[in-house]
Symmetry: C2
Subunit: 428 residues, 2 copies
């Protein structure tokens, strides 16, 4: 086990934490420590599933109550103007842009990740006439693959081509490839792509790069503009803490916004939506990626979360994230599990994937259920991944230590073999 400290963007990552007391000392020195008080976490729970559904910011409920009772209830229709409802997708988008490394005017908060993906894939195909292939990794979050299929079926003559890994991209990037869709962080393994290098590779072959940021937005610093990314999508309810089914987001590089066309051309994306014309004319700028009316109540919850994000130094976030995941991986290995997530800091996001070293790979399901019963919440992704997300805004080093203790105990005493843990639920 390495005992030297590792530098990441100038921040020291402690690699030699060997006790709970040392964790407490790290918490005391943590520049992000104050942010934990901004979340309404249930007592006693160690929440390692913020990569699936982020925790509740403390002020969200009050903010939503104001939107419902005052803006909607009292001011009614007038709030479309007064309260900025109509502009909410771009107001939120510009606030989110800092976390994505995007200059203002390129991000809209709207719809779901899947719907936004349909927009950008179709738009990208139109920008590369004559090229007919959409390339994606077979290990992508499935909705990406399903939407690529849907696009191929709708447009016609389009080929959805899968590669098993980004390392196969050089061979797959023929001159028929219009667009490559990649998951920045793999939803199961936590593997992080080198966005700059891969985008450059894609561009070198004349294709466009679409990045799915669902598992990286809010998990680490992102540099969409600097990497020359063409389009990106992502969700609001994981690391961004926008609440269940929060509106998602779409990014389109400014250089494309003058001419790009997307087929979900509803009235919210029209240049003059209140002229009620019969013909569609896209709004200038990112607003052309809007379709229909957007969820104002859900958008308000995301706004409350962005109030917290406004205070976050993304470099400090990344340093703590790497330290937390490193600590958990090392202790999980000591407890007898295999780490699936890459150990190199530059190759992982903010989550850890573990696998049983021996026995039935599906045992991971019951192990996770037994942990949940001890108030350590992670999740399981078929067929064999125990998945734990680490959110530096509200997780402490001692939480990670205690979670590792619970994991060790569950594995040692084997309570997870009980029927009540092995019986499958549809979702967890």
């Amino acid at each position: 086990m390495p005992s030297r400290p590792t530098l990441f963007r100038g921040t020291l990552i402690p690699m030699t934490v060997l006790s709970r007391a040392e964790c407490a000392a790290l918490d005391a020195a943590d520049p992000l420590a104050d942010l934990r008080a901004e979340f309404a976490l249930p007592d006693g729970v160690i929440y390692l599933d913020g990569n699936s559904l982020g925790a509740l910011p403390r002020r969200t409920s009050e903010r939503v109550r104001d939107t419902i009772e005052r803006q909607w209830g009292e001011r009614l229709i007038r709030s479309w103007n007064e309260a900025g409802w109509w502009d909410l997708p771009t107001t939120l988008g510009d606030r989110l842009a800092r976390l994505l490394g995007a200059a203002p005017g390129q991000v809209a908060v709207c719809d779901s990740t899947s719907v936004n993906l349909f927009k950008v894939l179709t738009a990208a195909l139109r920008m590369r006439p004559g090229r007919t292939a959409v390339v994606a990794e077979s290990g992508s979050f499935p909705t990406d693959l399903y939407i690529a299929e849907g696009v191929a079926g709708a447009v016609g003559g389009v080929d959805r081509r899968l590669v098993s890994d980004a390392s196969e991209l050089p061979g797959a990037l023929g001159d028929d490839v219009a667009v490559v869709l990649l998951n920045h962080v793999d939803y199961r393994t936590g593997r992080l792509h080198d966005m700059a290098a891969v985008t450059r590779l894609i561009h070198d072959h004349g294709a466009l790069a679409v990045w799915d940021l669902c598992h990286s937005a809010g998990a680490l610093p992102i540099e969409l503009d600097a990497c020359g990314v063409d389009f990106a999508v992502g969700c609001g309810y994981k690391y961004l803490n926008g609440g269940p089914g929060a509106p998602a987001f779409v990014y389109a590089a400014a250089r494309h916004l003058g001419a790009v066309e997307q087929p979900l051309s509803g009235w919210w994306g029209h240049a003059e939506p209140f002229a009620f014309e019969t013909g569609y004319a896209p709004a200038p700028g990112i607003r052309r990626f809007l379709t229909g009316s957007q969820p104002i109540i859900g958008g308000t919850a995301l706004a409350a979360s962005l109030d917290v994000w406004d205070r976050v130094d993304m470099t400090a976030l990344r340093a703590k994230s790497l330290a937390l995941t490193d600590l958990f991986m090392r202790r999980a290995e000591q407890a007898g599990l295999d780490t699936v997530t890459p150990r190199e800091p530059e190759r992982r996001g903010s989550q850890v994937a573990l696998r049983v070293r021996t026995g039935d790979p599906g045992d991971g399901y019951a192990i996770v259920q037994a942990l949940i019963d001890r108030d350590v919440i992670g999740d399981f992704r078929a067929p064999d991944i125990m998945r734990f997300g680490f959110t530096p805004l509200y997780l402490r080093y001692v939480d990670v230590w205690d979670a590792a203790d619970a994991l060790t105990d569950v594995l040692t005493t084997e309570p997870w073999k009980d029927d009540r843990y092995t019986t499958r639920n549809p979702i967890t």
Copy 2:
């Protein structure tokens, strides 16, 4: 002016209301009167814009607070199972189905009207291979026309064909027409189509019928199943009172659900979403019309509204609606305005469109602003429509009487010619 009572579905519509006292007597006898207490209406406001954004149900805020603080905050990821979040689109759809005249299993609450329209138009085109035209009325709510354009552009070889009125349909229904998209109630004039007869006409020509119910769902009884409708869409935030940007809905007739394909094929519509397969296989039933993660907080607000709807007799609702609109139209005409909305009960929805009889047609904008300043809230739709919605759940006969008084006063004393009313806002 007719003084005879008119029968509609066995309910007497009073046509001879001539005083505020008579209105008060009608309120005292109103079988829907109790429902007004279920809404949090601002003091002194007469809200005639529930056709644009429905009023706030009294219990919505508390219900949303529970979803945020307990389901999300306390139970976190577990609520996907425990609180029924995953099934919310179909749970809400089955509750909404009664208002639409649909048997269970055919309605999903999801996405926006525009997004749902893209799904059903594309699905319908695939069901009529060889037919390439989508027919719509030029006076449709514009997003319908824009989405039809978007579908035509994405699929290729598809022709969006406009008719100026449904009366032109017989001539337009050539054997190249795959699908006809119609607005059940016209968003400006309030004109109501005969859904049964028009659907029959469309089917007689081998095309499929898609109905946009945005301005009729919750405004009057609808009989989708009995009329043999193929697909329908509509929004949750107008008469349904689901709140700003509430999730919309999509209906697909059971007979189509075995084979129909829609291109926004995201993971929420997959047969086995948690198997994380690489290939798309649609869920059986209406769930295949889902795409990505759905807004749970917004869905909760709609659920609170459906608690009120569960108590509503739609026949009584329709009778009161017709009485309210009739009263307002007659008094507006006495005040010197022209009625655009059809006077025949079977040809109008639950809204009234008025127009100035002389002068600049755009004057209606300022008249509406002056009314809003007197707490009578309607809206204006370019170029010349003053639009007033009548929602029998929370409007009283005396409210309509008082609104007509205010309108008469504004027109008589001409305060609307003041600059502060004539200056345009982007949305109202």
